[in-house]
Amino acid sequence: MLLNPFRDTLRRAGTSAFSTGSAIRLAGRPKIYTKTGDKGTSSLFTGERRPKDDEVFEALGTNDELSSSVGLAREYCLDQGSDVQGMVEQLEQIQCLLQDIGSNIATPRDSATAPRLARTEFDSDGQHVQDLENWIDTMDQELPPLTSFILPSGGKAAAALHVARSISRRTERRVVPLAQEQRVDKSVAIYLNRLSDYLFTCGRYAAMKAGRQEVLYKKPRAPRVKKNSPSVEE
């Protein structure tokens, strides 16, 4: 989630008593590092500062990890080719929505002003969740029925989608308590719940389109004495 990089630089340029004596050039070159977080606090969208281990930042950071993992999965899908081009576009839309989810998390619903709440509302009509369900239904039609557990597998894109799926579930776990305390819109928790189903379906779909066998779960036997199979030697 990227806050306006100019904002803090502008503030410091105006009020800083510690200028180096040289003019701070702002045009085209905002400073990425503001150092305002060096003491372990950061700001929410409402301007409120809180310690960085606050639950809100944990949720924001996990959402950030999710977006990164979706981005990575999308790159692998791009490499895989035209069969998953639709998925590439959907994943990009999802990254944009995750940015909006970040804004919603960063603007506590129980303390923000009405205009701020209005600007950062998420999926008030449920359309985004509906889109996910439609995309799942469409892909599911082409997939063979699931008859056993599958292991995360099936090529690079599929594997990366499974990673994104598991991170999506962790993001949901971080958001659920905030949603229950009504600090984050419930629609965010619902979207994240549906998103992991979507990413699972994508994983299966990408594996199928790559022509890669998904590996099926098979309960390993546990011989107590034998130590040597399957061993690996050069």
């Binding site: 369900e133 439609n134 799942i136 239904d137 469409t138 599911d140 039609q141 557990f149 292991l151 995360p152 597998s153 090529g155 690079k156 599929a158 594997a159 990366a160 499974h162 990673v163 799926r165 598991s166 991170i167 579930r169 962790r170 949901e172 776990r173 659920v176 308590p177 949603a179 229950q180 928790a189 619902i190 719940n193 549906r194 189903d197 699972f200 379906t201 590996v215 779960y217 098979k218 309960k219 390993p220 546990a222 011989p223 107590r224 034998k226 130590k227 040597n228 399957p230 061993s231 690996v232 030697e233 050069e234």
Partner: protein
């Protein structure tokens, strides 16, 4: 787009929309429960091994079969974690027990890999080619999964064998990463204490 609606998938049940999910014994709990945290971490570990497996197949380094067996073990560990040992039927407990024999098997694999590696003299940085790098990443996620499993094991909601397996697994993944680097004939980068900017500039000025 097709004009007719596709058939509704059975994948999404919406039963989790209010923030709860079910354990294997049928009990529903909040998704923030530490059991789900542990389950999810093991799931992430499984997924990260899936990526490492892909690169090990590509490198043809021989580790692929062991990684698949580990993924299946992790699925079984998930079943064990999802079935609180004090609150399940005899049958459920029997079906989801996690055998200590799997740990001994891991140890055997580690011994075999380690015997083929040069002794470690320095800290290494996660490096050494695609397979090695992703095995290192899986190793770090494995340690996180172990951390989340510890309170669940301590509360006796999951078997001790689960914690032990995850502990041993991070050692296996370390050995596997080094083995993979050696197989790909890739240099592992060694840790070397970085000079701070100040020290470095003093050095150059003295020149």
């Amino acid at each position: 787009m097709a004009s007719e609606q596709p058939k509704k998938s059975q994948l999404y049940t919406r039963t989790g929309d209010k923030g709860e999910s079910s354990l294997y014994n049928g009990e529903r709990r909040a998704k923030t429960d530490r059991i789900f945290e542990a389950l999810g971490a093991v799931d992430e570990l499984n997924s990260s091994i899936g990526i490492a497996h892909h690169y090990c197949v590509k490198s043809n380094n021989g580790l692929a079969e062991q990684l698949i067996e580990i993924q299946c073990n992790l699925q079984d560990i998930g079943s064990n974690i999802a079935t609180p040992r004090h609150d399940a039927s005899e049958i459920q407990l029997r079906n989801t027990a996690f055998d200590e024999g799997h740990i001994e098997k891991l140890e055997g694999w580690i011994d075999t890999l380690d015997a083929q590696l040069p002794p470690l003299r320095n800290f290494i940085l996660p490096s050494g080619g695609e397979s090695s790098i992703f095995l290192h990443q899986a190793r770090s996620i494995c340690r996180r999964a172990e951390r989340t499993a510890i309170p669940v094991v301590e509360a006796e909601d999951a078997d001790e064998s689960v914690g032990k397996y995850l502990n041993r697994l991070s050692d296996y993944l370390f050995a596997a990463a080094r083995f993979a680097a050696k197989h790909d004939k890739m240099e592992e980068n060694l840790y070397k204490k970085a000079k701070s900017g100040r020290e470095a500039s003093i050095q150059t000025r003295a020149l």
